[in-house]
Amino acid sequence: MSQTPYSTYADYAFWKRSISNLDFKEVDPVVKGDFTISPSDKVVTAGSCFAQHIARYLAREDFNFFVTEPAHPIANTKIAQEYGYGDFSARYGNIYTSRQLLQLFDRAYGSYVPKDNIWTRPDGNFADPFRPRIQPDGFASVAELTRDRAQHFAAVREAFENLDVFIFTLGLTETWYSADDGAVYPLCPGVAAGDFDKTLHKFANFSVDEVTADMNAFIQRLRSVNPEAKIIITVSPVPLIATAEDRHVLVSTTYSKSVLRVAAENICQSNADCAYYPSYEIITGPQTRGRYYAGDSRGIMENGVRHVMGLFMQHYTSKETAIAPPIKADNQSQQHEAMMAEMTHLVEVNCDEEALDPGRKS
């Protein structure tokens, strides 16, 4: 047998050696991380719902999951989650498309103010069109929404300007946007809040070029405020829940994921310190035979997330054992708990004094 270029290639270049001969749980398409994340590096996550798994795992593994918009420590964990805190580094909710990410940056820095900026709910409360699920009972007033949005944008800026690593999960190509000024919505108006208006709300299905251009523009803006930022791009393996194209949702899913996968390749080839992480392949590859999908063939099983994140830890983290600095929320919680304990005691003393010595002079 003569020598060919393939003769020198590593095992991972061959399907049989790297897939067929392995248990699906041992398949490692990452091969090698492009850089190393240390425990002290500030990691910011954003993207579609799959990105929530990444965030959750990073937090659990004592990474410095950089949270710039934690819930006020008055809230317990359950209600904080209901109000969209902790899913991501800031309270932006799911960011499904590259255009949504780009517009988030521009809105946070004040260079873009969408015209369709506040929705009134049937109950008289108000919703943020760009975070329609963030406040389950809506904002009680326009003033509250406006103040909350201002503090949210400050948190987004803090995240962008101070992060060491930004992990973004591309989720969808299909989107709804405002015909007024191109503002893209995370969800079709009317789904979680707002009213659908066919003259105002238009459908778009982004191409490879559009996704690539949006992401390149975002990376340029991010590095204008944080030149050292490293970026990891992933593609969500979660299929579309519905398509607005007149075709089968499976066909639309394949199109959408294909576009995102190619765009991810383009983005990483044209930007330094930008790596593609193959969570999509780990979950959807034929080696899994769908075993990482839940019964609805859409949700991702926990063992799939574990496989994705196990390889992530193996290839992208250092072996240092240094403890990550406590995240901001922990410090705030400690201060809060101390204050609550002390004030509870003082109020009890105050009440006891009043009961025992009413109307005292001091």
Binding site: P136, S141, R147, M340, M343, V347, V349, A355
Partner: protein
């Protein structure tokens, strides 16, 4: 009217008023609940249970009354309200959305406050449920709203009570926030009452100024309670409310 007044520290203003002033319409009796034997027992992760001593005594004391007036707990809101939180916050009061939001404070969902107050009022709910259960069905049971906040920082600084040191460290909360938290807390207690078969009676309007704060003549010499005059105003309000003929069916 044969009335049992029971509760915690806010009861003192009423008891003092009843001692010093004449209310010929009522025959009052007072039961302070501040002693440990009347404090609900809280086990980790469990709903609080009334103390056996309370259970026994309250059943005896509610007999042959025309009315039961409760001031169960009623100062929990001041844990959050009186002094500035290390991470200052503000929120929109659902029942009065037009009240302004304070500048430079973190705006938090009102639901966070509600969740916290629900957790803080488990003992009050436990006592109120048991009082209602112990009282003959035909006897009305009332829970009174806590006194409105004292709006004067100068007064609170002059009479800081046990808060002196902490007050120097954190500062007094803005009165608007104290007012909102008092209202939010009151709404939670009112909700408990509605679910317990207890009538919730708001603080007398004539004790409040145009902004809803406690008028100066009712300030006690401490940061959180009403004085004897306030107690008298509350008793007169109870007499007035409970003397009204019931509307025809």
């Amino acid at each position: 009217m044969n009335i049992l007044f029971t509760g915690h520290s806010h009861l003192t203003a009423l008891e003092t008023a009843a001692e010093h002033q004449d209310f010929p319409e009522i025959n009052p009796s007072f039961l302070q609940l501040t002693i440990p034997e009347y404090t609900p027992i809280v086990s980790d992760g469990q709903a609080p249970e009334v103390h056996p001593a309370f259970k026994s005594d309250i059943r005896e004391r509610v007999q042959n009354r025309d009315l039961i007036i409760c001031l169960a707990y009623g100062n929990e809101h001041n844990i959050l309200a009186l002094l500035n939180h290390p991470q200052p916050f503000d929120f929109t009061l659902k029942s009065e959305k037009t009240l302004p939001l304070l500048d430079t404070r973190q705006i938090i969902p009102a639901a966070f406050i509600e969740q916290r107050f629900r957790a803080m009022t488990v003992k009050a709910r436990c006592l109120l449920e048991d009082i209602r259960k112990a009282t003959p069905e035909a006897t009305p049971v009332y829970q009174l709203q806590s006194p409105p906040p004292i709006p004067s920082d100068a007064h609170i600084e002059k009479f800081p009570g046990p808060f002196r040191t902490k007050m120097a460290e954190l500062g007094i909360s803005p009165v608007l926030l104290r007012y909102k938290l008092w209202r939010a807390y009151s709404a939670i207690v009112e909700d408990i009452c509605q679910n317990t078969g207890i009538i919730y009676l708001k603080a007398p309007e004539n004790t409040q100024d145009k902004d809803g704060y406690l008028r100066q003549e009712y300030w006690n010499n401490d940061p959180t309670h009403g004085n004897e005059a306030y107690g008298a105003a509350v008793i007169r309000n109870i007499i007035s409310v409970t003397s009204k003929p019931e509307p025809a069916a």
